[in-house]
Symmetry: C2
Subunit: 179 residues, 2 copies
Amino acid sequence: MLDLKQQKEIRASALNYFENAGIALSKKEISKEIKIFNYDNVDYYTMGIVIVTFINTERYCGRFILFFPGQCAGEHWHPDVGANKGKEETLRVLYGQAFAYGEGEPTNNIKAKIPEGKEKYFTSRHETVLNPGDQYTVNLNEKHWWQAGPEGVISLEVSSTARDKYDLYTDNTLKVNIY
Amino acid sequence: MLDLKQQKEIRASALNYFENAGIALSKKEISKEIKIFNYDNVDYYTMGIVIVTFINTERYCGRFILFFPGQCAGEHWHPDVGANKGKEETLRVLYGQAFAYGEGEPTNNIKAKIPEGKEKYFTSRHETVLNPGDQYTVNLNEKHWWQAGPEGVISLEVSSTARDKYDLYTDNTLKVNIY
């Protein structure tokens, strides 16, 4: 859980990142669409995300995704939801650097630091290092996770329809809160 | 038609716009994906587009679209293609200013300058002025066109699958060349 003061601080800090990266948000987005994804009982700056979804229709989705320096998301995948195929997504770095992990040949000595004691919940170890202009496409049902480099990272996600609340996590005890 | 020298100049100029706007392209994109859309027998800087498509799958598409100062695209729409529904798209300005026209109540004294003698081919006159952070969603089969403001405009397009060669133009004599 994040209290209101923490949420306010995170939003203000996120807005600074967007401004420094030269990514314009509308007034409405600034006041209502800077969403904080946090996990119960996990330090926010270790694991968490900021997401600004600027469009999400029944056909496609576009959003900006921020990780603070060293922050990561829990490994997850996007299952089918009813008759709807799971989400496929392309993440393109706009600012900073990301270490992206997906399925495939595991990379030796990965650059990311997996949160202590959580190694078994980060099973995809095929690493791609992404700098501005680089992108990574996550396949259907591929288990994936990202960690920001030392300056944090803002990426653009273009995808099929997002249905975040149906995402499945390798650590199925993770409880996601969205503020 | 644009000769090789003209194409080279347009690409170099486009790359300058992307760099000035802080939008990173990969080396591969710079060498192969800066596509020039031109119309036969129409001055390029009056009507034309530069498009960098960074992803286009059977489910979604993401691209950067550049119009040089005052340049516009021909009014068009995206029809169904076989069993595939026509494209729906969201255009979000990253740099510069756009005058966007779609269906709806016509705006008096629109800001765009319609190319001389072509008035009847620009039928959608509902104007939306877009600055960085603003966006416009084009509905299914909506006739639409854009014109850049005095500094040009770079926008991000997030959409369902793009099938450009099936686009239909209000001026059905327009012949699109893609370089």
